[in-house]
Amino acid sequence: MNSSSAEMPAALREGCERLLVRYSHPEGALLPILQLIQREWGEVAEESILYVADLLGVAPARISGVMSFYPGLRRQSVGAHLISVCRSLPCCLMGSGEVIDYLREKLGIGVGETTEDGRFTLVEVECLGGCGAAPAMMVDGELHESLTCARIDQLLERLS
């Protein structure tokens, strides 16, 4: 056990090891393990990359390469609540522009920014599969469709 794995809590280490057995080759578990760490800590920091590299027997650079490829993986954590507004064509036609304008004003931040109190991060993303009930956005992984300003207010209040 090196210093990086010593910092990984036992429960998280066990979670990683449980994922390993689902794949006949350990590297198959790489994405699920990184996702597990991110769910737990909100980010995959350098120490976690070293731990996973050690666990899977691969170079840390290989993991950094994977991290930089997938938009769902983060090296730095975001606000307590991540609001991802779909900007793809069907949502754009149905008014994602107003959704973004409204959230920017309400939260007082721009796209890609986090509120000063660290509670909300606002990002624009591509298709969430909510095209039939557009405009749509995702809050902390949960999809919300048929958005209106009133509905956005309700959703944010629920988070307060």
């Binding site: 064509l89 069907p90 036609l93 591509e126 298709c127 095209c131 999809l143």
Partner: protein
């Protein structure tokens, strides 16, 4: 032409996402029949006789992809639930509302192919779908439909769910497999057979496999009564954009025209507005003008994939309707942003080309475009998607799809691009406001 519900037949049944309700509707009966017959080849033969084609947008006959595995089977069946093309949301709905139909379809395909392990590659954004599918897999396992020695047959199967980590590119089979192996999801050269962890693998779209319980239960002859000779069965169309009733509509293939789908089922464009353009099959299919919609909804009539007379791409059933508040340069820019963000970047023509096109389109939309920009859009598109196959500049079709879509917009709405340049501004009164349709069909 009424709706012809097959995959959507039971979606209004309460609790259909639970195994008790699914069993009460005849669920897992097809799998029981297949196991009782005891011959995986029979399932293969039935699927072949039914003429089932891929519904992920490619429309190849499943039997064709399965044929090389007749003798040996495959080790891995990888189920593609990475749906992410703007305008297409059928698989997400099917997974969330009717997960057992999917699980039974997967089990039947795995049985036919003698697969030992299934990975369902589900996009990260389908978080709810993953939870419901995971529960369905656990329920099926508890009833003995999964695991070792299934119902005493000697057939063993495990289904694992594997979440993607964002990105559109894993919809390419080689990229999906690379991603499953824990690498960057970069497509590979597609000759040779597909492998996962060094063993033979097969990738199939999740919504396509949902047809298997119906085909195995009721037979190929029954299935062929729907649809056309070459494209039997139904297609679930996803209508979005400026219509009164967006949503899912399941129609017999060839049972109506694109105009009927938009007018009759989706209610036409919202009140007070005129129809301007329709993207017929997800953003990868080039736009059509209002006068071009009287084409039958059967792939064989379309140039792509069926080689038909109608010069369009049928795509994956995602019909995006645009009214007169839509700026077509803005639409092109929206698509450019999507493809520039989603390109994996390994082929320069696509990686750099999509970004160049985005920059040029930004300029034109802002009214800062130069006359030569319109030619530039055409020539860069032509370099991403050369007409002659041998001079192909990309490993996968992602960049080409954008090039074709952009060329389609230039062809159909060229005068609007010109006006942006000549007038030095966007001439369309765009509407950024939130729009609320009358109803949404298939709301769950």
């Amino acid at each position: 032409m009424p709706e012809c519900r097959l995959l959507l037949r039971d979606i209004d049944i309460p609790d259909i996402e639970r195994i008790e309700a699914y069993l009460a509707c005849g669920g897992y009966r097809a799998f029981g029949k297949a196991l009782a017959a005891g011959e995986p080849e029979q399932v293969m033969a039935e699927v072949k006789a039914a003429g089932l084609q891929n519904r992920g947008g490619e429309w190849y006959p499943l039997a064709e992809r399965w044929a090389p595995h007749l003798a040996e089977g495959v080790h891995y069946l990888c189920v593609d639930a990475s749906e992410g093309e703007p305008g297409i949301y059928r698989d997400r709905k099917l997974i969330e509302r009717h997960p057992h139909q999917i699980v039974e379809g997967i089990i039947l395909a795995a049985y036919a192919l003698r697969a030992r392990v299934v990975y369902v590659y589900i996009r990260e954004e389908m978080h709810r779908g993953r939870v419901l599918l995971e529960r369905a897999v656990a329920e099926a396992g508890a009833r003995g439909f999964l695991g070792g020695n299934i119902l005493g047959s000697g057939f063993a199967l495990d289904i694992h769910l594997h979440s993607g980590a964002g990105g559109y590119i894993p919809r390419e089979p080689t990229a999906l497999l690379r991603s499953l192996e824990g690498h960057r999801a970069e497509p590979r050269q597609g000759d040779g057979g597909l492998t996962l962890f060094g063993r033979p693998a097969l990738v199939e779209n999740v919504g396509t496999l949902a047809y298997l319980p119906h085909i195995v239960d009721r037979g190929a002859v029954w299935f062929r009564e729907m649809g056309s000779e070459r494209y039997p069965g139904t297609c679930v169309f996803c209508v979005s954009g400026h219509v009164r009733r967006p949503g899912l509509y399941e129609l017999e293939i060839g049972g109506g025209t694109l105009r009927e789908l938009i007018q009759k089922f989706a209610g036409g464009v919202r009140a007070g507005h005129e129809l301007k353009g329709v993207i017929p099959g997800g953003i990868s299919s080039p736009v059509l003008r209002p006068e071009e919609l009287d084409v039958r909804l059967s792939p064989e009539e379309w140039a792509v994939p069926g080689g038909g007379d109608f010069p369009g791409a049928f795509g994956g059933g995602g019909v995006i309707v645009m009214d007169d508040t839509t700026c077509m340069v803005d639409t092109a820019l929206n698509l450019a942003r999507f493809y520039a963000r989603e390109s994996c970047g390994q082929c320069p023509a696509c990686g750099a080309g999509t970004h160049w096109l985005q920059k040029v389109l930004e300029r034109v939309e802002k009214g800062e475009g130069r006359r030569e920009d319109l030619e530039l859009l055409g020539s860069v598109s032509g370099q991403i998607a050369p007409l002659l196959e041998p001079s192909r500049t990309t490993l996968c079709s992602l960049g080409e799809e954008f090039a074709w879509s952009l060329l389609g917009l230039l062809r159909s709405f060229g005068e609007e691009f010109e006006r942006h340049v000549v007038e030095g501004r966007c001439p369309i009164e765009k509407d950024r406001r939130i729009k609320v349709p009358e109803t949404v069909s298939v709301r769950f």
